[in-house]
């Protein structure tokens, strides 16, 4: 009887199906009107040349007899994307990379590798699929790659080097993660109540097995997103909601492996348009869910941990004022653990590619704003099974993005402006506290203020050429009371100022500065496994000042093709250890061509 009912229902669903089409990104097919629409195979790609000269000096170098004062490096690189469409419903693409280190001659230092490979298509004009490399993002708590530290609104002068990092690490504007596996998506339309539903599913291998102690590790999951039709026309009541599942698991069937983990995060997200007219849109939005972590050894669960999270708030769009205001309550449990959302971009423990160790004692040099802006070796897109290290000077309030565990409090936001505004700005304020103490029952209080603003001088002065001032500001304060050893008082301020001025046609002057000051004390935990704190090493005490200034010229041959020549200077001053102050300078030329 049930089968008799299910079959026509299934047929009805199929009839209602509408395809999302080949919506998945990453294709190198040209979107220009002059593209050859009939071509079956096309070649596109990216060429890049970087020549860089870096020097170091300062108090630390006065007695340092081992560190080279000047380094030169660079690369010549060509990524050739070969895109083929064997039929209307299938597309395949591979990116072949040819790279030569600066200083390599006649084949020395040349590498040839495959950077990307995928195929995608449509099954029965209904289900879209993709196999191979793909980018995927879900929600900030399930699968997400949060922004890196050390920047709020990066001055344009520092963007070229950051763009290289983003390209190399497959970072995208929508915080997606680069994965390798397969994904499917399809959509359904409904005649009543619900307007449509979109379903996505994916699975990817994120670590191969060694057949002995390390099992294959996979990440997989999916989401169902629903949109309702208007539920009450008089106020424009309408709801979007979704169910999300993200899971990371080890396949214990491979080799002689007997232990592995499973980390599941399930959530429900929603955005309810409570009231909307031409002037105002009021939304209730948020996400709630839970995480579960299991460690299995010898067919027994030896460790398990679970916790919940909640983000819920109200957003008001004042359409005429181009202003959006929001207030959100946040509660992320102390045991909340989400590998796919908490793995960071910056791996502070990675070796740097230049001046990794300095001084006669060859001490490890701490990553600085200079390194975060330039060194691609510090960046990462892989998933980490332990909470990655962080530097509280750059981010202490939410070092793992919204998915930072053990946080509770309020967030406020304000966004102003659009494409025609003389200035646009985005302000965020977070007033949070710990839920569970670290090393004490006393709880830390966190305060974060972030402001990003762009002043479009060309619009104010009615100039044709692009002239823009960018501002970025972040202030963080962490406090905790208690007895003397428990007291925490760490503050940090990051200020970014930039100018982008088109002096002549396509010829830009770029100026920028970044300043970070950090002062106070905190304890940075050492993570033993997953998110468990093993110890607190010596208190983290800072009285640091980092300053980075940059100036450069850029000529844009056409969109996505430019040459820039820049000078940047960085200084680190540590009041608690002035003998280890140092300066870094770099002069570089960078040519980028996307074709």
């Amino acid at each position: 009887m049930k089968k008799n009912l299910l079959y026509p229902l299934f047929c009805l669903l199929l009839l209602c199906c509408w395809t999302t089409g080949q919506a998945q990104d990453g294709s190198s097919l040209p979107s220009r009107e002059d593209a050859d629409a009939n071509a079956k195979v096309q070649f596109n790609g990216l060429g890049r040349t970087i020549l860089n000269n870096t020097s170091i000096d300062g108090a630390l170098l006065d007695t340092d007899t081992t560190t080279a004062r000047r380094l030169s490096d660079g690369e010549f690189l060509l990524d050739v994307a070969i895109n083929a469409q064997p039929n209307d419903n299938t597309e395949v693409q591979g990116i072949l990379r040819i790279r030569n280190e600066f200083g390599g001659f006649f084949g020395a230092g040349v590498t040839v590798e495959v950077r990307e490979l995928w195929a995608r298509g449509l099954i029965a004009n209904t289900v879209s699929y993709r196999v191979g490399d793909f980018d995927h993002v879900m929600t900030p708590y399930t699968l997400f790659l949060a922004d890196e530290e050390g920047t709020v609104n990066e001055p344009e002068v520092f963007r070229p080097q950051k763009e290289v990092i983003e390209y190399e690490q497959f970072y995208t504007d929508n915080n997606s993660r680069r994965l390798q596996g397969a994904k499917l998506d399809f959509g359904l339309a409904f005649p009543v109540i619900l307007r449509d539903m979109k379903a996505e599913g994916f699975v990817a291998r994120i670590r191969p097995t060694d057949f002995f102690t390390t099992p294959n590790r996979f990440v997989g999951g999916g989401n169902l997103d629903f949109s309702t039709r208007s539920l009450r026309d008089s106020v424009g009541l309408q709801a979007d909601f979704g169910i999300n599942l993200s899971s990371v698991w080890d396949d214990l069937q491979t080799g002689a492996v007997t232990s592995g983990i499973t980390n599941q995060v399930i959530s429900v997200d929603f955005a309810v348009h409570v009231f909307e007219n031409e002037q105002i849109n009021v939304q209730v939005l948020g996400e709630a869910g839970s995480s579960k972590l299991d460690l299995r050894e010898e067919e027994k669960t030896t460790f398990t941990e679970d916790d919940t999270f909640l983000e819920a708030g109200v957003a008001v769009d004042l359409k005429a004022s181009k202003l959006r205001l929001s207030a959100t309550y946040l509660d992320v449990g102390p045991d909340f653990f989400s590998i796919a959302a908490q793995s960071k971009r910056v791996a502070f423990n990675n070796n740097k590619t230049f001046y990794n160790r300095i001084g006669n004692q060859r001490r490890l040099r701490m990553p600085t704003l200079f390194d975060l802006g330039r060194d691609r070796a510090l960046y990462n897109f892989q998933l980490s099974e332990d909470l990655m290290a962080y530097d509280p000077r750059y981010a202490n309030v939410m070092p793992y993005g919204k998915a930072t565990a053990n946080r509770n409090g309020l967030q406020f936001g304000a966004v102003y402006g659009d494409e025609t505004s003389m200035f646009d700005a985005e302000l965020g304020v977070a007033l949070l506290s710990e839920i569970r103490g670290q090393g004490t029952f006393e709880l830390k209080d966190f305060r974060q203020i972030r402001l990003a603003a762009n002043v479009h001088l060309d619009r104010i002065l009615n100039w044709e050429k692009t002239t823009k001032i960018t501002l970025g500001f972040q202030q963080e304060q962490t406090d905790r009371g208690g007895v003397e050893v428990e007291v925490v008082d760490l503050s940090s301020t990051l200020i970014e100022v930039g100018l982008e001025a088109e002096l002549f046609n396509r010829f830009d002057l770029l100026l920028g500065a970044k300043m970070l000051s950090a002062e106070g004390r905190d304890y940075v935990p050492v993570i033993e496994a997953f998110n468990n704190i093993e110890d607190f090493p010596a208190p983290f005490v800072a009285d640091d000042q980092e300053t980075m200034i940059g100036a450069g010229l850029r000529y844009r041959f056409k969109d996505d093709v430019y040459l820039t020549l820049q000078y940047q200077q960085f200084s680190l001053e540590r009041a608690l250890d002035p003998t280890n102050d140092y300066d870094l300078r770099q002069v570089f030329a960078q040519y980028i061509m996307k074709f």
Binding site: R436, G437, T440, D535
Partner: protein, 335 residues
């Protein structure tokens, strides 16, 4: 219909909010910062709850003290006559009956006697604390298990002295020179394998009748659960080897008959290469005896061997002491 959906969504939201804000906050994460970085302070001094104690009557000694932070602490109790030492170690900020109680046992042999015991509280990270006290033992602890012999009473004919090659010295025998691991007496072997250089120096056969029974009383006959425990004393001389054999009444005569009854011994013997008393324990399954055999142990033979492969020429004397031979069930004798 639409109203129902709105209501459902609203209720779902409320339920979600209330169900996701409950977290485990009974503990804090990581080590206590005060323990980790705070300066040590003695909040309450060491207090010993009694001046005399009779362990044989089930009494114990309890010590209390309180610190401002959890630290690694040691309470050291030293017998003023025996030299016995009991160490109580822990990591806490409060000493009480859960972590600072003494029931009469020892950490380093010998056993405590009826004597005055000095008590000292040590906190390594704090340096000298001068937290000391004394307690007098008026009755020693009664240990678990079935005693085979502790040599406290003259054995008479229950011990056969096998000095076949006249290599054992006159010092060999029960000794009462203040060195006993338990009580006042122990058995000392001393000799030189220089008459017939064949490794063998001498032996004693301790008949089970020393217990007042035909066979050695054992608390269990399951060989894998039956532990034999004894203490050996060595002076660090590298050439001596102690051997302990168990004699099974093969012919069911109820008496030890050398050459007729089967013997078993622990593989590897006991090279005497340490200084002082040391406890040895092993199961009877380790020596290869069956359930029937352990119920008919008619004697225990103890031999002194001189390792002629390592001896200089002429060979030097070898010796060892033995004391407190017991059987326990389920686990080795707990000091």
């Amino acid at each position: 219909m639409k109203n129902s959906i709105v209501t459902f969504l609203f209720l779902s939201l409320v339920v979600t909010v209330f169900s996701t804000c409950d977290h485990d906050t009974d503990q804090f994460d990581g080590p206590n910062l005060v323990d980790r970085f705070g300066e040590f302070q003695l909040m309450e001094p060491l207090v010993i709850n009694r001046t005399t104690v009779d362990f044989s009557a089930g009494e114990d000694v309890r010590m209390t003290a309180r610190f401002n932070k959890s630290v690694n602490f040691t309470i050291q109790l030293t017998g003023t006559e025996s030299g016995a030492v009991k160490l109580i170690n822990g990591f806490d900020n409060n000493l009480d009956e859960t972590n600072a109680i003494w029931t009469g046992g020892t950490t380093e042999l010998p056993f405590f006697r009826e004597e005055l015991v000095e008590v000292e509280l040590l906190v390594p990270e704090a340096g000298p604390l001068n937290q000391t006290g004394t307690v007098e033992i008026v009755g020693t602890k009664t240990y678990e298990g079935s005693l085979f012999t502790d040599f406290e009473t003259p054995p008479g004919t229950n011990i056969f002295f096998g000095n076949f090659e006249f290599e054992l010295t006159n010092n060999t025998g029960r000794r009462n020179n203040g060195l006993a691991a338990q009580g006042d007496w122990y058995y000392l072997f001393e000799g030189t394998d220089n008459v017939v250089p064949n490794f063998f120096t001498g032996l004693i056969d301790i008949k089970s009748t020393i217990t007042g029974n035909t066979y050695a009383p054992v608390p269990t006959t399951a060989p894998e659960d039956l532990y034999f425990n004894f203490f050996l004393y060595a002076d660090g001389g590298p050439h001596g080897i102690a051997v302990v054999q168990f004699v099974y009444d093969s012919n069911n005569t109820g008496a030890f008959e050398d050459g007729q009854d089967a013997t078993f011994q622990f593989a590897g013997d006991y090279p005497l290469n340490w200084v002082g008393w040391r406890q040895f324990s092993h199961t009877m399954a380790d020596v290869g005896m069956t359930e029937e055999q352990v119920s008919k142990i008619v004697a225990i033979r103890v031999l002194l061997i001189s390792d002629m492969n390592s001896q200089p020429s002429p060979p030097v004397p070898v010796d060892f002491g033995i004391d407190y031979l017991t059987f326990t069930a389920g686990r080795p004798l707990e000091l």
